[in-house]
Amino acid sequence: MEAFTRLTSAAVPLPRPNIDTDQIIPARFLSRPREVNHGDFLFHDARRVPGTGERDPEFPLNREVFGAARIILAGRNFACGSSRESAVWALFDAGFRCAIAPSFGDIFRTNGMKNGLLPVVLPAEAVAALIGQIEAAPGAEVTVDLRTLEVTFPDGSVHGFEVDPFARHCLLEGLDEIGLTLSLEDEIAAFERRYGRENAR
């Protein structure tokens, strides 16, 4: 996994609640292996004019000023719905490394932490203020620091956030958990001996 420590970048605002993972990547693109660049599938239908396939110039992701954005800002319950990890892959492959919202779908939040995409929960008022600052100055930069657990807005204000300490450690170091858990083989085997045949069948 790619490590995340600190990121300064433009942020693209999607100020809507309940943006689901079906919108982030429609189901018909889910049969591709991870090696395929999923960035092209990101908001595939949402960013196009229905019926024509043309890119909608109004959709924030299509605006040139946000072309280099690596942070996505969204309304409450971002990436709710399906557990598809390809929602994270699509964002990651399109260059995003961080998402900021008042709340996230639980599974997406976990998927993000395991794939180098940091989900940051800030209070709704703070997210609204940040979106306001970005809309006033599109392309303005935001800094997200996983070491200090702080987001710095374009106006210089600093906002703390919380991340699960274990997942934070893994993301800071770029570790994946499987290797770590495999080193706990003795504990797992001991559990299995205690547990015996319970729930084996």
């Binding site: 100020p15 809507r16 609640p17 309940n18 689901d20 079906d22 919108q23 429609p26 189901a27 018909r28 889910l30 049969s31 591709r32 292996p33 991870r34 239908d45 949402a46 229905p50 019926g51 309304g75 409450r76 319950n77 709710c80 719905g81 399906s82 557990s83 598809r84 990890e85 390809s86 994270v88 709340s103 996230f104 779908g105 639980d106 599974i107 997406f108 976990t110 998927n111 395991k114 794939n115 609204a128 699960d164 300490p165 274990f166 994946d176 958990e177 499987i178 858990t181 495999l182 706990l184 504990e187 797992i188 559990f191 299995e192 547990y195 045949r197 319970e198 729930n199 084996a200 069948r201």
Partner: protein, 477 residues
């Protein structure tokens, strides 16, 4: 040790009991390694198997893993060769190959056990009270209806469980949703869960495991409880559960994978329900008697109203952002403020999905369809949840009822709930669907999904528009 003993005497929730029983170890920061009893895998597991292969690892406990194709399963045939899209066929074949390679029990396409993973788990007795069950699918919450802790995980976590049979978790919060009273005629578990989501919102239970309680819940059938728990994720909940009781035990008795030592299992299961006095982090109560047949009107399951309701207008939106979202939703859905839901014409009807494709769902729909005809303008499908449901329905003659009424009687799979196998609706078409998500594009680009119960879906099919099923049940219309 003393502290531990004191803790064990404090009243515990069912969730806490299952959590503690599966704890392999807990780190100082609270992160807990949990042991997984059952790992269910559908075609979406491909990336996880590939990740395992890259590392040169094999599944740690293949006997605890069960695989079944459902998302890409064709519903017009049982033959792989009939699948037109080679990618879809490959997803199904890959799952069979991975299962065979690792000695995993696979319920293959065309076999007698195949079906939607969340239908066959309970049906085969794989899902049992007190178990920790995971699957790379958000609707894994379904299995909680049997008193299990069951939740959906992502692909990286699927790989982790394959490799280690364990999962790192932070303890979620608990929420009890109590529904008391008697459900009215024509009101089903689907209406209950839609009413709950409408009340608490699509993120209302984020970070929580829900326990459903109260007399209206205890009064639900097993199928109804499965429907209820299924949509916990639509309320943001990590999992949903119902205390196991005699109904659950009777349901499991004699199933293919029921415990070998039944008496020992029963003794464990009887100790599972939350202790009286157990404290939940959040409590919600609803009056079951006040719940009516529900219809969603928007693109989030929280946007649901009783059938007698009207589409909300901008005055219902709290702020400019919500007004903009509402305008966009109504534009997508082809609705205008003030429109009545009843009478809204439908183009397609889909009865199926892990939410509502079990035998009781098909009986409820057939009761409405019997002696009636699907409206000329409507294409109506019934997709049974599994081969076993299909066999049972055919033994009861339900397929004849549906066919006689003009429904298409199809083969088991996820089908139009998610459209991955190509079963989708045309842009702009309005679908009465018994599935779980009314997201934009969920049933095909531009498709307009309204979530309803099986009886309400059948009522829409024969009426050509949404209507109050209670009127049809009373002999009208």
């Amino acid at each position: 040790m003393q502290a531990e003993e004191a803790m064990s005497e404090a009243p515990r929730t069912m969730f806490e009991k299952i959590w503690e029983r599966h704890r392999v170890l807990e780190r100082e920061d609270g992160q807990t390694l949990l042991y997984v009893d059952r790992h269910l895998v559908h075609e979406g597991g491909a990336a996880a198997f590939a990740a395992l292969r890259r590392r040169g690892l094999a599944p740690r406990a293949p006997e605890r893993i069960f695989t079944v194709p459902d998302h890409y399963a064709p519903t017009d045939s049982r033959r792989l060769d009939d699948i037109r899209d080679p990618r879809h066929r490959e997803m199904i074949e890959q799952l069979a190959r991975n299962s065979e390679e690792h000695g995993i029990r696979h319920f293959g396409l065309g076999g007698p056990e195949q079906g939607i993973v969340h239908v066959i788990g309970p049906e085969l007795g794989l899902s049992q009270p007190g178990m920790l069950i995971v699957c790379g699918d958000s609707h894994t919450s379904t299995h909680g209806a049997l008193g299990a802790l069951a939740f959906g995980i992502g692909s990286s976590e699927v790989a982790h469980v394959l490799a280690t049979q364990t999962l790192w978790q932070r303890k979620p919060k608990t929420m009890r949703i109590t529904v008391d009273g008697r459900l009215g005629e024509g009101v089903s578990a689907k209406d209950v869960i839609l009413a709950i989501i409408a009340r608490i919102g699509a993120a209302g239970a984020t970070g929580h495991v829900i326990e459903y309680a109260g007399s209206a819940i205890a009064g639900l059938s097993m199928e109804g409880r499965l429907t209820l728990c299924n949509m916990s994720i639509e309320a943001g909940g990590r999992a949903g559960m119902v205390a196991p009781d005699e109904l659950a035990f009777d349901y499991l008795a004699g199933r293919a994978y029921a415990p070998e030592d039944w008496e020992a299992a029963l003794a464990r299961w009887r100790a599972l329900p939350s202790d009286s006095g157990a404290v939940f982090d959040a409590e919600v109560t609803l009056d079951g008697g006040a719940i009516e047949p529900m219809v969603t009107w928007g693109n989030s399951p929280e946007e649901a109203l009783p059938i007698g309701g009207t589409v909300p207008g901008p005055e219902a939106a709290a702020d400019a952002e919500r007004r903009e979202t509402l305008a966009r939703t109504l534009d997508y859905m082809g609705l205008a403020p003030g429109m009545a839901l009843e009478g809204l014409a439908v183009d397609r009807v889909f009865i199926g999905s892990c939410t509502n494709s079990r035998i009781e769902d098909l009986r409820a729909a057939a009761a409405v369809a019997r002696g009636r005809r699907v409206a000329e303008s409507v294409e109506a499908w019934v997709v049974p949840g599994s081969e076993a449901v299909k066999r049972q329905a055919e033994a009861e003659g339900l397929h004849e009822v549906f066919r006689g009424a003009g429904f298409d009687w199809r083969e088991p799979g996820c089908s139009m709930c998610v459209g991955m196998n190509g079963d989708i609706a045309r842009p702009g078409s309005r679908v009465a669907s018994t599935s779980n998500r009314n997201f934009m594009g969920r049933q095909g680009p531009g498709a307009r999904t309204h979530l309803v119960s099986p009886a309400m879906a059948a009522a829409a099919a024969v009426s050509g528009h949404f209507t109050d099923v209670r009127r049809l049940l009373a002999g009208g219309g």
